[in-house]
Amino acid sequence: MPSGIKDKVVILGMGCSRFGERWEASPEDLMVEAYGEAMSDAGIGPQQLDAAWFSTHMSDVGTGRGGLPMGIALRLPNIGVTRVENFCAGGSEAVRAAVYAVAAGACDIAIALGVEKLKDTGYAGLPVATVGTLVPQWYPNAVAPANFAQLATAYRHKHGMDAATLKRAIAHVSVKSHANGAKNAKAHLQKAVTEEQVLNAPIIAEPLGLFDCCGVSDGAAAAIVTRPDIARGLGKRELVSFKALQVATSNGWEMHSSDWDGSYFHTARIAAKRAYEEAGIRRPREEVSMLEVHDCFSVTELVTMEDLFLSPEGGAVKDVMDGFFDADGRIPCQIDGGLKCFGHPVGASGIRMLYEMYLQLLGRAGSRQLANPQVGLTHNLGGQPSQNVCSVSIVGNFPS
C-alpha cells in the first residue's frame, strides 16, 4: 500500500452555486458563481492558480467539450485546464487530480471545478446519452431510474423482504433528505415531504416513484487545494485536509458474472475499504461523523449504507427506519439535502458533497450545522449498479 494522501493536501477555499432549474444562468454564469465564492474564500487571485481540472459530463447539451469552456468563462491566466469526465463521479475525479498534482509538488495551488447545465434540453430528467456504436446495437435503451431500480428487486430477493417494507424504507430516505434540503438556501428542492406523498407518487421505474429520484439540476461547485504550509502562509488557521481519496472502477465482472447478486455496489465496497485504510479508520460506524452519498435514487442510498460498512449486511432498512442517518441520528447523511434535494448537476455533484463536509468541519453550515463533526465521508458514483465508477473520499480537520 502506498503511503497515501492523508493530511498532505488541504482545502484553501470552496464555492458552490445555487443549484436548481437555473433558467436565467448559462454554464458560464454557474462557473463564475462557484469560482467567485471559492476564490474569495481562498483569498487568492487568478495568478496564484497553477493548474485547473474541469469536470462536466453531458458536454453536448451543456458546456461543450474540452478544457476551453472553463478557461474562457473564468478568463484563467493560460494555465492548463484539463477536462475530466467519469460519469456522475467526475467532480470527485477533478478534485483527486488537483489534490494529486499538489501532493506531487507539481503545483502549489490547484483548482477543481465541476459544472453541469442540464435544463437546456427541453424535457425533464437526465438527457438521453450516446454510448458509442456497438452498445446501442445490443444493450437496452436503458434509463437511470430503471437501472438503479433493479437494486430494489435484487435486494428484496436476497434478504427475503416484501416489497412494501423496502418501499417504506426508501421512502424514509427521501423524506429525510427533503427535511434536510428545506434548511439549505442553495438547494434545488427546499420543501419537506411526507412519507405518504412519497409512497403515492407516480411510478417512474418500478418500484421507484417520483420522490425516489433525485433532482436534475443546473449548478457548479469548485474547490481550491494546496499544501498545509502554503495555506498557513496565506493566513489560514482552521484547515480541512484530505484523509483519503479512492476510486474503484468496474471491469465487467458484475455485468458478466452470475457471482454478483445485483443488490450492492461491488466497487463501493472496494473503494470504501481502501479509503478507510488510507484514512486509518478501523470502525467506520463509530468513527465517521457525517456523510454525503450518491443518492441518485433512494434505493441507491439505502444499499450504499451497507457498502460503506456503516450498516451491517441486510441491516440498512432497520438503520434507516431507526433514523440512524437522519439529521439528529448517529451519522447524519445528506445533511445538505443530497442529490435528492440539493440537486444533481452531474459534473459538479462530487465537489458539492465535499463543499458540505468543508462547511460542516469549519462550523459554517448555519441552521443545519452539526455538533462537532470530525470525519466526513463523500461517496460519488457514476454509471449504474452493474458497471460503474465509485469514488469514496474522506476529509477531516487538519491536525494543528
Binding site: V143, A154, H157, A205, G262
Partner: protein, 495 residues
C-alpha cells in the same frame, strides 16, 4: 425420396379482438359489424417479417446447435423489410447458419411460399444438405378495411431434404397467369383490391382446378383419396367450393384458422400445413394449394417418420398461448398508422454504424458470446480479455451460442420515462443456464409476469427502428418461458 423432414410455425402472442376493431370503426364502416367475430394474430411492435421467420425456423429446427446440415434458406414473403439487403441473409445470421448457405428472398405473389417449396424440393433431388423454406408476412392494411379484419400475422417453416422424410413429395402443378386480383406497386404500403366475386369465379374457380389436376396427375393420386386439403383464402367458403369442383371429399378441408389467426398471406398455406402435420398419420395424402398470379398445388404423402418429429412449440400450442388484445389504437400505433406523441426522448437518432454491425454480427444477430476455455466463464459480448477475477486471460474465449439457452431473471424494472413503443419498457439482468449474464430488454411481457427468479427464453426481435434512414436493428430479447417442453441444450462443443 424428397419431401418435408421437419416443420414449424409461429403465431404472435397478441390476438386482436375483431369486435374491438369493428366497434371502433362502426361510425365509418358499419358494414363490418357482422364480421366482428374471433381474433386475428397481431405482431408486437418489435416483430417484422424477419423476426417472424426466425421464430418459425426455430420452432422447426429445435434446440440443437448443429445446423450445418442446412445448405439453403429460401425466405418467401411479400412484406420483407428490406428491398435491398438480403432478408434471408439476416435470418441466416440469426440462426447461426454456415456462411456457405444459399439464401434467397422470394416474393411477388401469394403463392411465393409454394414456389419456394417447389424450388427446395427440386434442389433436394440433386444436392446434399437440406433447405429451410421460410414464409412470413406482416401486411399493412387501411383502417376500417376488410383486410384489416381478415388478415393476420404469422410465419411457417419447413425443412426440405431427402433423409428422414416425414411427408414425401409426390407431385406438383403450377399455372402462371397475370390474374390481378390485387396488387401493390413498389413503395406502396397497402394492396389495391379488385372485386372479390370476380376473383372467386374467374380466378380461383378456373385456375386452381388446373393446378390441382396437374398435381394429382403427377402424383398419380385420385382426388377423392386426398385426406387433407389445404387452401387458404379470405373468401368465404371458396375452399369448400373448390374441393367440390375438384372431387375432393368435404371432410378433407383443413381449418384455415380464420377465427383465431386470420389469413397470414404468403405463409398461410404452410402454416395450415404445419397444423395438419401435427396430427397427420402415416399414409395420409395432403394436397396444399395457394392462389396468386396463377395457381400452385403440391401433393404429399405422410410417412412413418412423422412420429419421430415434433416442432418445438407447434401451431396447436401457439394458438393456445395467445393473449387477446382489445386495444385497437395499440394495433394502429404498432403499424405506424397512428402517430402518437413520443416526447423529446423519442427524437434520439438511431443511426446504426454498419461497419460496427459487421464486426459484431455474430454477437448481435446470432447472440453468440465467448466462453473462456480455461474457466468456463461466459462473456457477452465476447472479448479478448476475460473478466475472471485475478486471472484475466487473453484470447481464451471460444464462440458460445446463447439463443437457445434459457435464463433466470436476477433483477428487473419497468420504466415509464423513456420513449418506448409499448410502455412500460421492461428490462433486467438475466443469468443463462450454463453461465453468462446479459442486461436485456424483455418483450411479450406484462405487469406481474416477471420477478427475480422468473425463467426466460430468448426471442429475436426488432431492437430499434431508424425511421430517418429506414434501417432496422435486430437483437435478442428475453421473454417468460411459456412452454414447458422447451429447454436449454446440454453443455458441449458450441462452435
Amino acid at each position: 425420396m424428397q419431401g418435408i423432414i421437419a416443420y414449424g410455425a409461429y403465431i404472435p402472442r397478441l390476438r386482436l379482438s375483431r369486435k374491438s376493431v369493428a366497434q371502433a370503426n362502426a361510425w365509418f364502416a358499419p358494414q363490418f359489424g357482422a364480421r366482428g367475430k374471433g381474433t386475428r394474430a397481431m405482431a408486437n411492435w418489435d416483430e417484422d417479417c424477419i423476426t417472424l421467420a426466425v421464430a418459425a425456423a426455430r420452432d422447426c429446427l429445435g434446440l440443437g446447435e448443429d445446423r450445418s446440415g442446412i445448405h439453403g434458406v429460401y425466405l418467401a414473403s411479400c412484406t420483407l423489410p428490406f428491398a435491398e439487403r438480403l432478408n434471408a441473409g439476416i435470418v441466416s445470421e440469426a440462426l447461426t447458419l454456415s456462411d456457405t448457405v444459399e439464401a434467397l428472398d422470394i416474393g411477388g405473389s401469394q403463392r411465393a411460399a409454394l414456389s419456394a417449396l417447389s424450388a427446395a424440393l427440386d434442389k433436394a433431388k440433386g444436392a446434399a444438405g437440406n433447405t429451410l423454406v421460410l414464409a412470413a408476412d406482416l401486411r399493412q392494411t387501411r383502417a376500417a378495411s376488410a383486410q384489416e379484419l381478415d388478415f393476420g400475422d404469422g410465419a411457417a417453416a419447413l425443412l426440405v431434404g431427402s433423409q428422414n422424410v416425414i411427408a414425401e413429395h409426390l407431385g406438383s402443378g403450377t399455372v402462371t397467369v397475370d390474374f390481378v386480383d390485387h396488387f401493390r406497386s413498389d413503395g406502396a404500403d397497402v394492396d389495391y383490391q379488385w372485386e372479390e366475386r370476380w376473383t372467386r369465379d374467374e380466378g380461383i374457380g378456373k385456375l386452381m382446378p388446373r393446378a390441382i389436376a396437374a398435381a394429382l396427375a403427377a402424383a398419380n393420386v385420385p382426388a377423392q383419396r386426398i385426406d387433407h386439403f389445404i387452401f387458404p383464402s379470405t373468401i368465404a367458403k371458396v375452399d369448400a367450393q373448390l374441393a367440390k369442383n375438384c372431387g375432393i371429399r368435404p371432410n378433407a378441408l383443413a381449418d384455415n384458422l380464420a377465427m383465431t389467426v386470420g389469413d397470414t398471406g404468403v405463409p398461410h398455406a404452410l402454416l395450415m400445413l404445419a397444423q395438419v402435420l401435427e396430427s397427420a398419420t402415416p399414409g395420409q395424402l395432403i394436397l396444399v394449394g395457394q392462389f396468386g398470379s396463377g395457381a400452385q398445388a403440391l401433393v404429399f404423402r405422410v410417412t412413418e417418420a412423422i412420429f419421430g418429429f415434433r416442432p418445438q412449440v407447434g401451431v396447436g400450442r401457439w394458438l393456445a398461448s395467445g393473449t387477446e388484445e382489445t386495444n385497437y389504437t395499440k394495433f394502429l400505433a404498432f403499424r405506424q398508422q397512428l402517430e402518437l406523441e413520443r416526447g423529446m426522448r423519442g427524437e434520439q437518432d438511431k443511426k446504426t454504424a454498419l461497419s460496427t454491425l459487421y464486426r459484431h454480427k455474430s454477437a448481435v444477430l446470432g447472440f453468440v458470446g465467448g466462453r473462456c476455455e480455461l474457466t468456463g466463464n461466459v462473456h457477452f459480448p465476447p472479448s479478448r480479455i476475460s473478466y475472471t477475477p485475478g486471472a484475466p486471460a487473453l484470447d481464451t474465449q471460444k464462440p458460445y451460442k446463447l439463443a437457445e439457452r434459457q435464463a433466470t431473471v436476477l433483477s428487473w424494472s419497468a420504466e415509464y420515462l423513456s420513449y418506448y413503443p409499448s410502455p412500460p419498457q421492461f428490462y433486467g439482468q438475466v443469468d443463462f443456464d450454463g453461465g453468462g449474464r446479459v442486461l436485456m430488454e424483455f418483450t411479450d411481457v406484462g405487469r406481474g409476469e416477471v420477478d427475480t427468479g422468473t425463467r426466460m427464453e430468448m426471442v429475436f426481435r426488432v431492437k430499434d427502428l431508424d425511421e430517418k434512414r429506414g434501417f432496422v436493428r435486430y437483437f435478442w430479447k428475453a421473454t417468460p418461458v411459456r412452454f414447458s417442453s422447451a429447454g436449454s441444450p446440454g453443455p458441449g462443443p458450441t462452435e
